[in-house]
């Protein structure tokens, strides 16, 4: 099952920031592959959503970049700035809180076993 794009859109920033927190530096394709692997293909980031978000986060100073030449092409690696580290934590804890609220709101019974 693939999740709807609205669901992904609201969590994309959180996903990117958490991944970069765990993996110090990543490039765009790597991020999409990592998400696909970790979720067994349930979440597939689209390029049309990923890159605009990456660029916006960079413009906000949350991400820093370094470029490397891979033969003829250039690869742009993203990593968290010091502010980005803070934002990453905030986003993850905000989302955790959100999940709890949603569970309660939608009356979802979690399977403890």
């Amino acid at each position: 099952m693939n999740y709807s794009s609205e669901l992904i859109k609201g969590t994309l920033k959180t996903i990117i920031l958490k991944l970069l927190k765990d993996n110090s530096r990543m490039y765009g394709y790597e991020i999409t592959q990592k998400v696909k692997d970790l979720t067994a293909g349930k979440i597939q980031l689209t390029e049309g959503a990923l890159y605009p978000t990456l660029h916006a986060l960079e413009a906000d100073g949350i991400l820093t970049t370094e470029t490397e030449y891979i033969g003829k092409r250039v690869r742009k690696y993203y990593s968290l700035s010091s502010e980005g580290n803070k934002v990453s934590d905030e986003k993850v804890s905000e989302f955790a809180d959100f999940i709890n609220t949603m569970k309660f709101l939608l009356d979802i019974k979690t399977d403890i076993a």
């Binding site: 765009g28 890159y51 891979i70 003829k72």
Partner: protein, 380 residues
């Protein structure tokens, strides 16, 4: 794993550019991304072109350019709301400051100028430029943007022009003229013609044009016409000539009972009188080009104008020293003779610091003082 050739990489980059991706950063990111996908998923002997186009298709709904548009909108989104907020706040602040300034001005209380200057300053340099930037974001073609820019520029010149006029700063007329010419001769015709052609904007265009013309018309009705200035100057000049005539005839009369200079008040009075004459000559010279005015002056020649007195003495150091000498001699005269119990009229020569204080006001006050000088001698 497929290995891309340099030609293929160039092909992909060209294709990305051709499809409307202009941000270099984004071009490079997409290029690397597509290369990765091709390298990971295409078999060694696979069809590159076919695979490439089917991969590219997954990136967008309608056009590849969507990614760039989304990027730009995300990057400016935050700024946009911040700018809008600042525009609202600056608008409110400037209106509040201006209102405060105008109320204080009418009450003749201090702080009026500060309020007005800050209020107009904020509206000219914060509110209007931000309004322009936000407005052109919504406009797509260059003509509309240029028109908005022109309108904003004219509005800024207009607000500053009025401010300069009120504050008596130099350049006020120039700013107002630029603003009105921009508005009436450039902005309005283009705005009107382009707006009236479109049925959707027709009514709005007519209403706005009427408002602009009315506003400019009202401003122009407040401006004195060149002919009006001439009439006013002729009045001022003939007023002065009349008073000076009176002084001359008084001077003639006073000769019949002239007292010797050995009497102190006569000598001191003459000293002040002469300094008065010098001051008058200096003012008349700068106003009319002659030291005296012919009683039968014609309105064709240069008349006494509307120069600010303080501007005049700061422009001419000689006039300033004549002014200082005159003030000192008057103080001296008053302290010596205008004491209580004596029948001597003190000489009053207050030059207000008000910027509206004109040179012709000073001329008139000097003549009155000279009359008193002559009368004081007679009383003695």
């Amino acid at each position: 794993m497929y290995t891309l050739t340099e030609t293929q990489i160039d092909f992909i980059l060209d294709d990305i550019r051709r499809n409307g991706i202009e941000l270099e950063d984004l071009q490079l990111n997409l290029l690397d991304h597509i290369c990765c996908i091709v390298e990971q998923n295409l078999e060694d002997n696979g069809d590159f072109e076919q695979f490439y186009f089917s991969t590219r298709k997954m990136f967008y709904k309608h056009h590849l350019k969507e990614i760039e548009e989304e990027t730009i909108s995300l990057m400016t989104y935050k700024n946009y709301y911040m700018m809008k907020k600042i525009m609202m706040i600056s608008g409110t602040v400037s209106v509040a400051l201006m209102t405060m300034g105008i109320v204080l001005k009418f009450l003749h209380m201090p702080g009026a100028a500060v309020g007005i200057v800050l209020g107009v300053g904020v509206i000219s340099f914060v509110f209007l430029p931000l309004m322009f930037l936000l407005k052109i974001k919504e406009q797509n073609n260059l003509k509309d943007k240029a028109l908005t820019g022109l309108g904003t520029l004219a509005a800024i010149c207009l607000t500053l022009g009025v401010l300069f006029k009120v504050m008596h700063w130099p350049g006020a007329n120039m700013l107002s003229i630029i603003a009105l010419v921009f508005l009436m001769c450039l902005y309005l015709p283009v705005y009107f013609i382009s707006g009236i052609r479109n049925p959707d904007t027709k009514t709005n265009t007519i209403v706005n044009s009427v408002l602009i013309i009315t506003a400019c018309g009202l401003i122009l009705t407040l401006v004195r016409s060149p002919q009006g200035t001439k009439i006013l100057e002729a009045q001022i000049t003939s007023d002065y000539v009349m008073k000076d005539d009176l002084l001359k005839s008084e001077l003639e009369l006073s000769k019949s009972y002239s007292l010797p200079d050995s009497i102190a008040i006569v000598a001191d009075g003459k000293k002040v009188f002469d300094l008065c004459e010098k001051m008058k000559e200096a003012i008349l010279l700068s106003e009319t080009g002659n030291k005296t005015i012919d009683p039968n002056f014609s309105t064709e020649q240069q008349m006494i104008g509307l120069t600010d007195f303080h501007q005049f003495i700061s422009d001419f150091p000689q006039a300033n020293s004549a002014y200082t000498a005159l003030k000192n001699s008057i103080d001296d005269y008053n302290s010596k003779y205008a004491k209580a119990g004596k029948n001597i009229h003190p000489l009053v020569f207050e030059t207000s610091n008000d910027r509206d204080f004109k040179s012709h006001d000073v001329l008139n006050r000097i003549v009155v003082m000279q009359m008193f000088l002559l009368q004081n001698v007679r009383k003695f």
